[in-house]
């Protein structure tokens, strides 16, 4: 999830005791070790991408893994995609800045996965041959709503993709000292290449390995922190040096919690990253896969956040809050801890970037190319177009990442209001026959406008909350006052031949 990044700050937290990791400019690993790790994992993803993609010749195989993904891969891909670099890097930062509520608030990101579980089952049932979230909006609410939805959805996907590419360059630079441009270029090009080679199977297959790597790394670091220091010592040190982190009445953190919850739900409900998985999962798998992924994802930010709380007990001087996770890991495990963090970050970034490339490319191919430009395009042409779009998206993302845009976080923050406005039109559209197109369009537009105004007039933490509330009221009132029957079988469209 990306929203939590938006409160990222580069604050300095002097510790009571000094240590040698006291400069933001000091990388934890040397560049040579960094290059060896990056090269090793890049090669692994490429070989696996090629191997799994050998038979992905037709459109459905390439973009949706043949629509037969089982439970194990389904759970792992949902988990790995939702564990972005933020969950491994920013959950510790949030715990370090907002304490217990920061950990719990980030953990509430799992509610999006849990609530999407029943929707995933219904999406697969109602749209057995669907490709994108855009398909649903177009068929359910008509072309105007579809275009409004597409605009923000594509902008959001691209923003997320660029933020992940930038995060890759920044984190690799911070961890290894490898130049930002090189690190960003490596991670982007590797993800583009293996997605091109293997399509959605490569995305889902590597997600499984990446999920296991992230989970194992986290378990090792947290377990060693507990055995080395113990809960009592960690708690006492936090209480002495940063008592506010243990306060359950921290207002800013409580507001963050609700905003994060709604942003997470909006992010999952609207994004084709999650819809494409619902289409790709075998019949009957969607609900169980998303539900289990939500349950298994929820404790990850708590464990990752707890690692940060060990910083005062270790006497670490934290030069920048966003480096607290790697610094604690390096202090506990030495060089092997830093290597572990680099592997986790690389896995987390790859799992999100490949998913975004695949989901955004099919959104462009299906909703822009096929539905706007070439309605008669065959499956073969669309398959070829997917390859070109993945490549083009990779190049565009690289071009946007290269200058290292500093206000990207602000852009993404604003989209909080936009994505949260889609929660009700989508949920109501999937379950209520009587929700009408005019109500859905009005809900999306007014939700965005008022959420955007709240962002500027009040603060970032109310944008998603306001957008979601306004959108909910419009959908509920318009459905009640002007019901319009919809035939569910209209969602079952013929596939391209």
């Amino acid at each position: 999830m990306i929203q939590a990044r938006l409160i990222s700050q580069s604050q300095s937290y002097p510790a009571k005791k000094g240590n040698d990791l006291n400069s933001a400019q000091d990388a934890i690993l040397d560049p040579d070790t960094g290059w060896i790790i990056l090269a090793g994992f890049s090669l692994l993803w490429l070989v696996l991408g090629w191997y799994w993609g050998r038979k992905s010749t037709d459109l459905d195989q390439f973009v949706l893994a043949g629509r037969k993904v089982g439970l194990a891969l389904g759970v792992a891909t949902a988990m790995a995609t939702w564990v972005t670099s933020n969950t491994t890097m920013l959950a510790p930062q949030l715990a370090f800045q907002m304490g217990i509520w920061g950990m719990l608030g980030y953990s509430l990101g799992s509610v999006g996965l849990l609530l999407f579980a029943p929707l995933a089952g219904r999406i697969r049932l109602l749209m057995p041959s669907g490709y994108t979230s855009g398909d649903f909006i177009r068929l359910r609410y008509g072309k105007t709503a579809w275009r409004v939805f597409l605009g923000i959805s594509l902008l959001y996907c691209l923003g997320w993709l660029v933020s992940m590419g930038m995060a890759g360059g920044i984190l690799i630079n911070a961890l290894t000292g490898i130049d930002y441009l090189y690190g960003m270029s490596v991670i982007l090009s590797i993800c583009v290449l293996y997605t091109l080679l293997g399509g959605f199977k490569a995305v889902i297959g590597t997600d499984f390995i990446q999920a296991i790597l992230i989970l194992c790394g986290l378990i090792i670091i947290a377990y060693l922190a507990i055995t080395k220091l113990g809960f009592e010592e960690i708690h006492d040190a936090v209480q002495q040096q940063r008592p506010e982190l243990l306060n359950l009445m921290m207002p800013a953190a409580i507001m963050f919690l609700f905003n994060n919850l709604l942003f997470g739900i909006g992010e999952i409900f609207h994004s084709n990253v999650w819809w494409s998985r619902a289409f790709a999962f075998r019949q009957g798998v969607g609900f169980r896969a998303y539900f289990l992924a939500g349950v298994l994802w929820a404790p990850i930010p708590i464990v990752a956040g707890f690692i940060a709380l060990a910083a005062p007990a270790l006497g670490l001087n934290i030069p920048a809050a966003d480096m607290v996770g790697p610094l604690v890991s390096a202090e506990i495990l030495g060089v092997s801890g830093a290597i572990l963090v680099l592997i986790m970050v690389f896995a987390a970034l790859s799992s999100s970037i490949d998913s975004l490339l695949a989901a955004t490319s099919i959104l462009i191919v299906e909703d822009i190319y096929r539905r706007h430009l070439r309605p008669s395009a065959s499956a073969k042409i669309l398959r070829r177009a997917s390859t070109l779009v993945i490549l083009g998206l990779g190049i565009l993302t690289w071009l946007l990442c290269a200058p290292r845009i500093s206000n990207l976080a602000a852009v993404l923050n604003i989209t909080g209001a936009f994505v949260a406005r889609t929660i009700w039109p989508i949920a109501a559209g999937l379950y209520w026959k009587s929700t009408n197109p005019a109500g859905a369009i009005t809900a999306m537009i007014t939700g965005s406008a008022i959420g955007f105004a709240a962002y500027h007039l009040i603060d970032w933490y109310v944008a998603a909350l306001t957008g979601a509330c306004v959108s909910m009221l419009v959908v509920l009132i318009s459905t009640w006052l002007w019901p319009r029957e919809f035939a569910w079988d209209r969602l079952n469209e013929a596939q391209p031949t």
Partner: protein, 40 residues
């Protein structure tokens, strides 16, 4: 209202236990799906 060390320990232990169970569960499910021919 301050969090006690016990509360922190219980919360983190439960979270860590679930996180530790996750890779095991994923591998068990993977083997089960593979044996049933339902991997993908």
């Amino acid at each position: 209202m301050m969090t006690s060390a016990t509360f922190l320990a219980v919360m983190v232990t439960i979270a860590l236990a679930i996180t530790a169970a996750a890779p095991v569960l994923l591998i068990v499910l993977l083997v089960r799906d593979w044996l049933r021919g339902e991997l993908w």
